[in-house]
Symmetry: C2
């Protein structure tokens, strides 16, 4: 046997259907919008709605960007300790305000959770033009799992 080099996890590209299935399992993602000096990056709670991503917002950067039909990137990732699988999905697309009455009624029934406070009376839709996703098995989950899940190891608390 030869000495094994450091092993990297095998990455599996996700199909469009798999990406949507993954996105539907989560409620928290991160939205990147071009900024003047730096990109703007926001954690947002979202729902998948008919092939788009919908989120609530207060007037501000995101609403202004939606009125400008800004091109954005949106990312969701997760780690499943049951399977040691980690995945991430990236949606690239354009923002659109949700303006139609019927759309608003539909959107109001979407179970959106405000990550940040505020009334968040406006709804914004990300209309995808590009969807990609990757999944891999984490080689050494014992060490990373708790942090991948966003929880500090008990020993540090």
């Amino acid at each position: 046997m030869t000495t094994q080099p450091m092993r990297y996890p095998k990455v599996q590209e996700l199909s469009s259907e798999e990406c949507w299935a993954k996105l539907r399992t989560m409620v928290l993602g991160r939205l990147a919008i071009a900024g003047e000096e730096h990109p703007e990056l926001f954690p947002i709670n979202y729902v998948v709605d008919r092939g788009t991503v919908v989120f609530r917002s207060d007037p501000g950067t995101k609403i202004a960007a939606s009125l400008d039909r800004a091109r954005v990137a949106f990312e969701v990732d997760a780690f499943d300790p049951a399977t040691n699988e980690a995945w991430s999905v990236i949606v690239k697309g354009g923002l659109e305000p949700v303006l139609e009455t019927a759309e608003i009624i539909d959107a109001l029934t979407l179970p959106l959770f405000p990550w940040q406070h505020g009334a968040k009376a406006f709804f914004v839709r990300i209309v995808p033009v590009e969807l990609s996703g990757r999944q891999f098995v984490v080689a050494d989950p014992g060490h990373w799992a708790s942090q991948l899940m966003g929880i500090r190891p008990a020993s540090e608390e």
Copy 2:
């Protein structure tokens, strides 16, 4: 008693010290870089190193961006089920390649985990110019906690 409107969590702004303390508890964040059509958004594993954020990368968008000293945004968030507190920290700053030998030796000892596969022989540093963070108690964690942590509820599996 009046009817209570929907309650929103109170948001606490984090100090710079608190932001760094939060960043040091995690290993996974998301990096936004300006793109031609859409922003680029990457999940990356990182470490905090002397007031900067360091990550590994293969040649590609991120390395090219570091050579251009691209201005980026970097975000980390987490939910702690022990306290029901959720937080997010945003770092805005410039990318720099880690070029100095001493720096590389330092960086090689950093426990960086490759979120995506590949040798990731290069190190990149985010030098912050702006740091902000928010924390709040999640009002209804029972419903959201498992998803905030990136795990599907058992009932859906």
